[in-house]
Amino acid sequence: MCAKVQATMITGRTSKQGLGLVTGKATKQYRQEVETVELSAALLARLGVQEGERVEISNRWGTVTLVARVAELPEYLVFIPYGPWANVLVGDDTGGTGMPSYKGVPVALQPAGKRGGSGEG
């Protein structure tokens, strides 16, 4: 297993996540979408993980294991659709504004290996 790789996480809307908001969060489509992490092919290669396999992502707030999806991103950036899994990695400090840091969050990645399961807080 390779050492942990540091990256910056941003969260955001995707079309499928948006569809899940109007068709129900209990649907398989919504769950699959928000259990995904997008990252570059280069970062995936550094982790030694194939697309569709799980990646463990952690920071001081928690740890989740998500399914990897290749996207056109800089190697230092990972993207997670808005949802309960992304929120495990979002802290509660709002800097006196009410807004947590949903974007620009430092995270560490490593292959989830066979321990992969759904996310946990």
Binding site: S15, E72, L77, F79, N87, T94, T97, G98, K103, G121
Partner: protein, 421 residues
């Protein structure tokens, strides 16, 4: 029966040209909407939830009475959500907040609340989407991705339509996208500037400096060569009518409202050269209305507290994430929102420990943790009312079908009556 000019309340673009085919109390066809809007009208036409207390089905009156009991005995309640309901529902929520001395906050605090703080500091050069369609020859999308969040924004307002002074449509506009990643929106851009995460404030300030002919002493800003920023600054000055659409790339990143302060200051500065406007890309259908309705009724747009009888405003103190993460509130009424799915885990943990009353037509993560679930009609489908578009234009959302449950506004009025007794 065919119903035309229907407003879709999914996102802040509030498309008002949908055509519905209605048979009895069923919508059988939706024309002109985006994929998400069509799904919204066709799915969940009936509230699929039943009134529930502690997971057991009860009648509506009993659920409302339990909600009244919880809120009456609460010492520091929070009323939260509001962005997918009508202004009538929002005003009813404010009345209830006043009656019980509650905190009241909207989803604005986790979307464009920081933009509103920035507007209070800088002011904003406003524009309507009609002006953008008819006049804008330079369109900048900064930290936003309407291709995923506002699917018809390009077609109806900002990129493709032919306008009175933009007869060429797309050919008559230059589109610039600034983002940390090549989003689907970036693919339609004439110019894409991929900034480093956290580089927005520096980039916006650099543009302001360039307008004032004070170039920074470096070759690269936010990962982009200075020459490209110089070219953008000149393009902004040369535009006949420019518009800056900005999103949560600014509000959710480090700096938060200060990023928007820089953006609105840039737009203000540009008005010394040409007409330039700024519009926040508001997400939920009536989140703009939530700020309007709270401002009419309390004087403040979000993060309002009534515990001393008169409204007080304090983001960071009376905003929902802070109230929950600090474990301060002892009961929560959620209206038309799903904080359990969208708040940081630390805030959700407190939500799971206090009695939650959820008003929603659909099952959500929040209804699954709520002590009391009260189904309601769907705003803009089975309940009529006013909604504000992202540019501050109010539109009338129609009731196109009838359902067995009352609207948010009616349920909130019943709860208010109950707590007064």
């Amino acid at each position: 029966m065919r119903v035309n000019n229907v407003v879709c309340m999914f996102c802040g673009a509030l498309c008002d040209d949908l055509e519905l085919v209605v048979e009895g109390d069923r919508i059988t066809e939706v024309r002109k909407g985006c994929a998400i809007g069509k799904k919204k009208f066709l799915h969940y036409q009936e509230p699929v939830l039943s009134p529930m207390v502690d997971g057991k089905v009860v009648d509506l009156e009993e659920a409302i009475q339990v909600a009244v009991d919880i809120l009456s005995s609460s010492r520091y309640p929070l009323i939260y959500g509001l962005s997918s309901t009508t202004c009538e529902g929002q005003v009813a929520a404010v009345r209830l907040a006043k009656a019980i001395g509650a905190n009241i906050d909207s989803t604005s605090s986790v979307c464009h609340g920081p933009s509103t703080i920035a507007k209070q500091i800088v002011g904003v050069s406003t524009a309507t989407l009609g002006e953008v369609k008819n006049r804008a020859d330079l369109v900048i999308f900064w930290g936003c991705n309407p291709a995923a969040s506002h699917p018809r924004h390009f077609n109806r307002y900002s990129v493709l339509p032919k306008g009175q002074f933009i007869p060429g449509g797309r050919e008559g506009r230059r589109v610039v996208v600034v983002d940390v990643r090549p989003t689907p929106t970036a693919r339609i851009a004439d110019t894409f500037l991929q900034v480093t995460p956290g580089g927005d404030y520096e980039a916006l300030s650099t543009l302001r400096a360039l307008l004032k002919k004070i170039p920074p002493d470096r070759e690269e800003v936010a990962g982009i060569p200075l020459a490209r920023w110089e070219e953008l600054a000149e393009a902004c000055k040369a535009a006949r009518y420019g518009i800056l659409f900005f999103g949560m790339g600014l509000t959710m990143s480090r700096g938060r409202y200060m990023n928007v302060v820089a953006a609105l200051s840039l737009v203000r500065d540009l008005n010394a050269f040409t007409r330039f406007g700024a519009i926040a890309m508001r997400g939920h259908g009536n989140v703009t209305g939530s700020e309007q309705a709270l401002a009419w009724t309390t004087g403040y747009p979000f993060a309002v507290n009534f515990s001393r009888g008169t409204p007080r405003y304090s983001p960071g103190e009376f905003t929902a994430v802070d109230l929950l993460a600090r474990g301060e509130v002892d009961a929560v009424l959620v209206i038309a929102s799903d904080p359990a799915a969208h708040f940081p885990a630390a805030a959700v943990r407190h939500l799971e420990q206090v009695p939650v009353i959820a008003l929603d037509p659909h099952p959500t993560v929040t209804t699954s943790v709520a002590k009391v679930v009260i189904p309601c009609a769907v705003s803009g489908i089975s309940a009529a009312g006013t909604a504000y578009r992202m540019d501050g234009v109010p539109l009338r959302a129609k009731k196109v079908i009838s359902v067995a449950y009352p609207s948010d506004a009616e349920i909130l009025a019943s709860i208010s009556e109950g707590v007064k007794q």
